[in-house]
């Protein structure tokens, strides 16, 4: 077996493994339950909450991540490596730990200031958004930085020598050139936010019709031994996730041509 064949076989084997996982859902799949579970108000609420909170968290993440990524990509500054490392925190630390840290921040840490001003985050819908934001902001920054790193600084330099301020050069040159990559990064961030479980359930809890997102609903259905509902909910999540990822791949691929 050639090296090339060997490596491709490994890729196929891994893909096959995940495909098997999806197929095993079908052992418990009953089309009638799918429809009734899908149209159940609790499912619809979870789906809507997941999409809304996920979108909101993504927007928040990107709003902060875009300038941060630009700074990290274009400028050398003291503690740049430290910043880079801290942005990895949500990846390195287990989501439950991240959620617990958030919970402590809002209940006994500096976050109590918000509580005093009537802003409650734990066990609230806002907690869902905050947890998803915390889980995705670092990743979004790193994704966007990678996109910006691909755009040579030459373009901005030329733009500035022609009279454009740094912000104008960014708006008229760097942003349009990185649009596809940024869209792909945004979609990935969104998928990650929608699928977030550990931090969300730890900070916002799992209250039906309040903070129960789709992943939490899956966990609750499984805990209640309702396997057909579990399978249905997973189908919805897999469908949403795979579609967005595929869209991201298409966009990124077209950007490269």
């Amino acid at each position: 077996m050639t090296f090339r064949r060997l490596t491709v076989t490994f890729a196929l084997a891994l893909a096959g493994f995940y495909l098997l996982l999806i197929f095993s859902l079908f052992t418990l799949f009953q089309p009638p339950t799918l429809l009734s579970a899908l149209l159940h108000p609790r499912t619809l609420f979870s789906l809507r909450l997941s999409l809304l909170a996920g979108t909101l968290a993504t927007i928040l993440s990107l709003l902060l991540a875009l300038p941060a990524a630009y700074g990290l990509s274009r400028h050398r500054f003291p503690a740049r490596n430290l910043v880079d490392t801290l942005l990895e925190l949500p990846v390195v630390v287990s989501p439950v730990a991240l959620g617990a840290m958030l919970l402590l921040f809002f209940t006994s840490g500096p976050g109590t200031v918000l509580q005093k001003h009537g802003i409650t985050v734990p066990l609230e819908v806002s907690g869902v958004v905050v947890a998803q934001f915390a889980a995705t902001a670092g990743m979004a920054t790193r994704l966007l930085k990678a996109v910006l790193d691909e755009i040579p600084t030459r373009y901005e330099e030329v733009a500035r020598s022609l009279g454009a301020s740094p912000f104008r050069a960014y708006l008229t040159v760097t942003l349009p050139l990185s649009l596809r990559g940024m869209t792909a990064a945004a979609i990935l961030t969104w998928a990650k936010a929608v699928g977030e479980f550990g931090a969300t359930i730890t900070l916002a809890g799992s209250m039906a019709f309040k903070t129960e997102t789709l992943p939490i609903a899956i966990f609750m259905a499984l805990s209640g031994a309702d396997l057909s509902l579990t399978v249905t909910l997973i189908f919805i999540l897999v469908g949403v996730g795979m579609l967005t990822l595929y869209a991201a791949r298409l966009l990124a691929g077209r950007g490269r041509s």
Partner: protein
Amino acid sequence: MTQGSERLTADIASPLLPLLALEEITVRAGTFFLPGLCLRVFPGEFHVLLGPTGAGKTLLLETVAGFLRPAAGRILLGGRDVTALPPEEREASYVPQDLALFPHLTVKDNIRYGLRWRRRPPGEVEPHLETLIRVTGIGPLLHRRPADLSGGEKQRVALVRALAIRPRLLLMDEPLSALHLQLRAEMRDLLRRLHRELRFTALLVTHDLEDAFALGDRASVLLGGRLHTAPSMEHLYRYPPNTAVARFFGLPNLFPATVKEVRGREIVLEVEDLGALLVRLPEGAEPVLDSPNLNPGRHLFLGLHPEEITLVKPDRRHLPRKNLFSGRIARISPRGRSFCLLFSTARAVLEIHIPSYAMEKLPIHEGWEGEVEIKEDKAFLMPN
């Protein structure tokens, strides 16, 4: 407003005032270090900055453009201190080596890019743009994107984009290096024509001698962290300021020598491996040599341009001559337009170039024994 009037006075004040002046500029970037460089570029001048790869030419250009802040020194542009100004306030258009045409914009939008930020009356902008488009012939390309342009076309578009804003100074970094020979010659020609027509001030960085000869009104060479400026490219080539520059030009025949006697402009040298040689200093060689210190006993270097060593035909030997050296031709190798002869004297080897047409009339061959003459005003001296 103030900027405009300031510029006007600076431009018409005096042609002797430099448009660009680098005063003791020190550049530090990573491990790279350029100490205390001075450079003057005068209004309307096409200045070529020569140097081998890795000499720091690009770094210096980026410092002038404003992408790098010098560690010390001042940059004056149009009489104004711009050392602390960002690139967008320097009005120095930059054409990088890879041109960096904006790939998402059409040619038309590329060349108008700078005009977006420089509001000027259309009556002033449009005729200027039309001239640029006419001279460069990019009219048919206006609606294309950079990806659909050939190398030469990209080159022209980048030039027009840079000149469209009527910059105080045009900065170019090896703009011709990516082109093949024929196109290179065409682009040089185009640059010269543009410069004649528009009289902009340019600073062009290159490692290519032909570019420098074809384009430079004046030339500087950056080598080993030192910058030497000459009144012309010919002058720089004719009288290299030191052996490092001479070697960069590919000049052979460099010999250590000692001053024996100084008689006005005439100097008798004792050249290592070659013997006594009489040299007459031409006008303009003094700044290179700091001649006040040109006393007997001084050590320096002698250089002989290989085109200017002449073979003495046997039938002319009876004429009175100085600076004659006898030896034999060790090797003759063709070099296209000329032949390269290696002439061995007792202890030295001289490289001699003879044009192909002249070669035909010479009765010489490998192993030929005879004499060569070094005309006393054709040698050049270098302090180190």
